[in-house]
Amino acid sequence: MLTLNDINKIYRTKTIETCALNNVNLHVEKGEFLSIMGPSGCGKSTLLNIMGLLDRPTSGTVTVNGEDVTGLGDRELARFRNRTFGFVFQSFQLINTLSVLDNVTLPLLYRSNPGNIEQLAREALEKVGLSHRMTHKPTQLSGGQAQRVAIARAIVGNPAIILADEPCGNLDSRMGSEIMELLHELNTSDGRTIVMVTHNESQAKETDRIVHFFDGQQVTL
């Protein structure tokens, strides 16, 4: 479903060149729950950003469903991201000025035929158990609730792949478990493909496959 071929990512300044990813090859199957582990700064998030077309690799190709999307322009990339990916960030990345419902509708605003936006957003919020919080602002929610809203936002557009960057990193263990349960449910009952970056080994072990990273390279343990 999602394939990375010979991905390199180099950050250059005037004096320093930092290699964040070094010749990474990875394939994610449809319906797979994959976790990426590794120490801080090893390039996990960079890899996830490249997978989700939020960042461009210095070299290499990203293929989604057989389509090479590496060279797409801003407009096409945006459209592709909107249809294909749902993102869950460690720090939730909710827009504090908007209500919970408006935050969830966000991906649908950028579709040409989104359907009944509010209805779809309500359904997504029901799925994560937060339909009673629709009119609240993100600042009025607990961390776990905020991450549930972020998950509702990620799934509202029915994307094929959910990319979660340390989704439980800012949550206590109880809330973290709730979020993991939710992700597993999305994977098993909805058949969604999920790629998750995590530090937590026990959470990673619950997934179908673990990929380890060290210094920008995929390693085998």
């Binding site: 939020l54 945006a78 991201r81 990345q93 908007l98 966000l106 950028y110 579709r111």
Partner: protein
């Protein structure tokens, strides 16, 4: 609707920014509105000059006398004989009025012996009341008979009448007497007074020029102190006819050459040429200069507002990053930011417009009325609340919005998504 909702959330989040932005915009738009109203009223059909679209003007004449010591050039208003020989005999017009463009100070003496009233005087002929559509509140204009006899009769503007006679009903003023520069006149009519921005028709008192001593005592054959306005449906035809008359005169005189320049000119040329000579007037230059002045006027506030927007966009970077991550492209977001900003600019524009209206009502027109400022300066509602002014102000709002928001919005939207998200 969603843009308005977003905007409302932004306003609630950042009240200080909103207040500063709207105040800054309002200040700029108030200034632009005042200037636009003053300029517009020089060319638009407004009371009592409703026929400006069909009116042309001949104000000046240049002569070049060929003497033994070289050529001597003179320029000035027209003499009565010039008007009779050259202007009144032109084809293609149905009304022609001669009047004195009188910028001297004149004083009316109040019947109660109070302090003299400084006012503007307009000596004219009876056709003046045909060409300019004064609204008579009482009485009627003086006619041909009074004009031919040189009777000292006067039509007063209502504000001037109140100053001279106090708060008296207009109907009770006809037939009453007052002295103008210590010469007694009888009031025959009271009109709704125009505004000093209308330099052709405006006066506190309109009198027959024949009532002035020495009205036809012209020192030189061709010159005097008169101007002419004509109503015509064929501006080019009347211009050609005057040109032909000028050429005929010049070909039959060896010692003197006359020039009416490109007169008769229409109200746009007359209004916009200001105090400069009509000779060499170029509308394109005036419009270019006006546009350049407007841009310069907008530049400073645009730069200030741009700085404020820059700061706000930095604060909104994570939001833009999230929107981009979920499928918004740069142009969609740019358009969203510009629309949001336009709403704020229009809010500032509405406040600025209201402020300009009050400023104009409270006499700021004095700044724009050159010469005699004998009268209180008042603009009418129709002058400010015209569709053209409102459309112009809206366009200026759009321009200011583009000038202030485009660059900061575009630059912040060019930041990579990952960097934008990191700002949170």
């Amino acid at each position: 609707m969603r843009t308005l909702k977003n905007l409302w959330h932004q306003i609630c989040r950042d009240k200080l920014f909103t207040a500063i932005y709207i105040f800054g915009t309002a200040l700029t738009l108030a200034t632009v509105t005042v200037i636009a109203v003053m300029m517009w009223n020089k060319v638009a059909p407004v009371y009592p000059e409703y026929q400006r679209d069909n009116t042309v003007y001949v104000n000046s004449l240049k002569t070049i006398e060929k003497t033994d010591n070289g050529n001597m050039t003179r320029q000035g208003n027209l003499g009565l004989s010039t008007i009779k020989d050259f202007i009144f005999t032109l084809p293609h017009h149905d009304i022609a009025t001669a009047y004195i463009d009188d910028w001297d100070n004149h004083y009316a003496q109040r019947p109660d012996g109070g302090r003299d009233i400084e006012l503007r005087r307009k000596p004219a002929d009876p056709a003046f009341f045909q060409l300019f559509n004064f609204k008579f509140l009482a009485g009627k204009p003086w006619g041909q008979a009074e004009f031919d006899s040189g009777l000292r009769v006067a039509v007063l503007g209502d504000r001037t009448a109140r100053k001279i006679f106090g708060a008296t009903e207009p109907e009770q003023l006809t037939g009453r007497r007052f002295t103008l520069d210590f010469v007694e006149y009888t009031v025959c009519g009271i009109v709704k007074e125009g505004t000093p921005t209308e330099t052709v028709s405006y006066a506190g008192v309109i009198i027959p020029y024949t009532s002035l001593s020495g009205f036809n005592n012209e020192t030189l054959e061709l010159w005097g102190s008169y101007c002419v306005a004509l109503r015509t449906d064929d501006k080019d035809g009347i211009r050609r006819a005057l040109k032909e008359k000028q050429e005929r005169y010049n070909s039959s005189h060896d010692d003197i050459e006359i020039s009416f320049f490109d007169q008769p000119v229409d109200s746009v040329v007359l209004g916009l040429s200001g105090n400069t000579s009509i000779e060499g007037f170029n509308l394109t230059d005036i419009l270019l200069a006006g546009t350049a002045s407007l841009l310069v006027l907008l530049l400073v506030p645009a730069l200030n507002l741009s700085g404020i927007i820059w700061g706000r966009m930095e604060g909104r970077l994570p939001e833009m990053g999230v929107r981009k991550a979920f499928g918004a492209n740069r142009s969609t977001l740019l358009s969203m930011v510009l629309w949001e900003n336009l709403c704020l600019t229009i809010a500032g524009g509405i406040i600025g417009f209201a402020a300009a209206f009050l400023m104009l009502k409270f006499g700021i027109t004095d700044l724009f009325v050159t010469g005699n400022r004998a009268d209180e300066s008042i603009v009418t509602n129709e002058m400010v609340l015209s569709g053209q002014i409102i459309i112009f102000i809206f366009l200026v709002c759009c321009l200011l919005n583009i000038m202030s928001a485009l660059v900061p919005a575009w630059r912040s939207l060019r930041k990579p998504i990952v960097e934008s998200l990191k700002e949170n």
